[in-house]
């Protein structure tokens, strides 16, 4: 225990450097801005700040990205409330009650509720992060090559079965990511693979241009398909910016009345975040659904219920803390944002994994402390500068889109100073666009791509140690991980069968 406090003190000291604090603050500002603009995701925001972090220390760079992630989770609240359009997928459920509340003349109350609920969700999430991450890392130190391989299998299976509509497509996405990650050098024998005689491919596809292409470039292409917005037609301004005033006493009263619902939503968000599959987009909807089911006034949901806003925003902020747990403890990203962060660590020469907590406590515990600081900064900035932010929602897409594309190209280029990486971004952007159009899961692809070296190295080590495949099922931790993977697949089929039965029942009732 005393060791924990010592390590945490190291983290606090490392984070408290002025440069790190300032970077985190800038990240929060950028995150809120990116989060509030419909069509731009938090992942895109993290990717956009990435090239700027290459000149920073690892902690400073990751803190900036944590700031973007935390700020972005709250930023989506603004457009969800004022425009009825979620700024990010993690604020979809906020539109259900935030927008109606704003339309009836209470936009400030909606934003105030969401902001404070976000803070509470983030704070409770931070407590869980601080307790769970070191414990999970300790657990991870017991992992052998069988366990690591089973963990990769579990991660991809969970994403494939829990977040998409088709298990087969989810697994295909994960396998495709793994296959494309084998391009380049064999991680153990260094033999070139699938280079087609092109020396640029000797090092394989760099992770960051792949990620920028998949999540930023392809997302922008999808946004372009909304032709009305791309042509710069003005969005309907529902609420005058000057009318946004937060009634603090009313907001605090609402928060107190919905305190149990808020805590439960927070726990839902944390759990979703810890599972390496789902992210904020699922957490806020699930938490909203739970809040409605347990509310004394479910009929008010969808009409401007404070509880609805509180549940959604508490969950979408706590999920960021949950995502950091497996990322810091095991080196397995909880979502695309943490995948970018882990990629950034690799660029800085830091290897994520269970040893990070002990070998780099300044970094691991610094990030944890930084999450709390970012949550506090977001609360202050959102409450103080709400009217300034509200104006930024209306920046036209025809200005933003080309700017973002330029930053994406720059981000891909600065990694290795190669034009080839921009072409990689282009190619994977096309692939990502194609995948999303045909309901293939991008997170599954990214996870497969990122974790392929871990899977390959550990599978080979396991088989070289012993050719007995039953060890994957007889070693307790490995068996547990494989069992969880099987449960995830089983749950997918269970939900499918249940949906089919419900559909048959309703069709039969309609015919009758």
């Amino acid at each position: 225990m005393s060791n924990f406090f010592e390590l945490f003190a190291v983290g606090i000291q490392a984070f408290s450097q002025p440069a790190v604090l300032i970077s985190c603050f800038v990240g929060v500002i950028v995150g809120i801005i990116v989060g509030m603009i419909p069509g731009f995701t938090i992942t895109m925001g993290v990717i956009l700040v990435l090239p700027f972090t290459f000149g920073m220390s690892p902690l400073q760079g990751i803190s900036t990205m944590v700031g973007v992630a935390v700020g972005g989770a709250s930023g989506g609240l603004i457009s969800a409330t004022l425009l009825g359009i979620p700024g990010t997928p993690s604020s979809v459920a906020t539109t259900f009650d935030g927008f109606p509340m704003a339309r009836r003349g209470e936009p400030g109350r909606a934003i105030g509720l969401g902001t404070i609920a976000s803070f509470v969700g983030g704070f409770i999430g931070w407590i869980v992060l601080v307790i769970a991450a070191p414990a999970l890392a300790e657990f991870g130190l017991k992992f052998g090559p069988w366990e690591f391989f089973s963990l990769v299998l579990l991660s991809i299976t969970m994403i494939a079965s829990l977040s998409g509509s088709s298990l087969v497509k989810g697994i295909i996405a994960g396998l495709l990511g793994m296959l494309l990650a084998t391009v380049g050098q064999d991680p153990m024998l260094a033999s070139p693979r699938f280079t087609f005689g092109n020396p640029e491919l000797d090092g394989g596809f760099d992770f960051l241009p792949v990620l920028i292409g998949l999540f930023a470039f392809s997302q922008l292409l999808q946004d372009l398909e909304h032709a009305v917005r791309a042509r710069g037609e003005p969005r309907g301004e529902v609420v005058k910016v000057g009318a946004v005033r937060i009634p603090y006493l009313q907001v605090l009263k609402d928060i107190w009345q919905a305190r149990l619902s808020m805590v439960w939503a927070t726990l839902v968000g944390i759990w979703i975040g810890v599972v390496p599959a789902a992210g904020g987009s699922i957490a806020n909807v699930l938490a909203y659904d739970q809040a409605k089911k347990t509310s004394r006034h479910p009929e008010e949901f969808g009409k401007g219920s404070p509880e609805g806003i509180i549940a959604s925003e508490a969950a979408n902020n706590s999920v960021s803390a949950g995502d950091l747990v497996p990322a810091l403890a095991l080196g397995v990203p909880g979502d695309a944002v943490t995948a970018v962060m882990l990629g950034a660590l690799l660029v800085h020469g830091v290897t994520p994994g269970p040893l990070l907590m002990t070998s780099r406590p300044d970094l691991a515990y610094g990030v944890m402390f930084g999450y709390l600081v970012a949550t506090l900064m977001t609360l202050v900035v959102m409450l103080v500068a709400v009217r300034v932010y509200c104006r930024l929602v209306f920046i036209p897409l025809h200005i933003l889109m080309p700017t973002i594309l330029v930053l994406c190209a720059l981000g891909a280029f600065v990694l290795n100073n190669r034009i080839f990486d921009i072409w990689v971004l282009f190619g994977f952007g096309l692939l990502g666009y194609f995948m999303v159009k045909h309901d293939f899961e991008l997170p599954a692809f990214v996870l497969g791509f990122l974790l392929e070296p871990l899977a390959e190295i550990n599978l080979k080590r396991a088989l070289q140690t012993s050719s007995d495949l039953s060890l994957f099922f007889t070693r307790p931790i490995s068996a547990l991980l494989l069992l969880l993977a099987a449960i995830a697949v089983g749950y997918y089929f269970y939900v499918g069968v249940r949906s089919a039965r419900q559909q048959n029942t309703s069709e039969a009732a309609a015919r009758a």
């Binding site: 930053l407 034009i419 088989l463």
Partner: protein, 155 residues
Amino acid sequence: MSDRAIGLLLLVFCGVMWSQTYAIRTPPFAQFQQLDSPFFPRLIIILLAICSAILLVRGSGRLVPAGGPATVIRVVREGRDVLVTLALFAAYVLAMPVIGYVPATTLYLVAMQLYLQPRGPMGIALVVLLSAVGSYALALVFTQFLHVVLPRGEF
């Protein structure tokens, strides 16, 4: 594109990648290892091929679009904005090493903004000015403060 067509495409891709695994050379010191360099990619390709076959057999839709060329033309028309964006971006990346980062970025920003939102002469002038200033400022930040070398062009 239908799921079945995608399944077929993936199977073809698996075939190509499988054939490429025979071009992977294991280093002399690892010649007697059972788990050589092609091992893991082949495992992934086999699993991918199985899933692709499932998609081909159980997926929905036709292998060939019902309307034939007319469907393709319709899809191209509907995706015009995306195609133009892709073409402009490709032109931008091709131009960058030739004319340099700042000119290429300026031209790209101007072209994209004017395509997405056509304007009159004054608007065009403003777009050109702001794009040039923005491109130069961005290059300045990265070259002077972050010490990144950006393409300078061949001239």
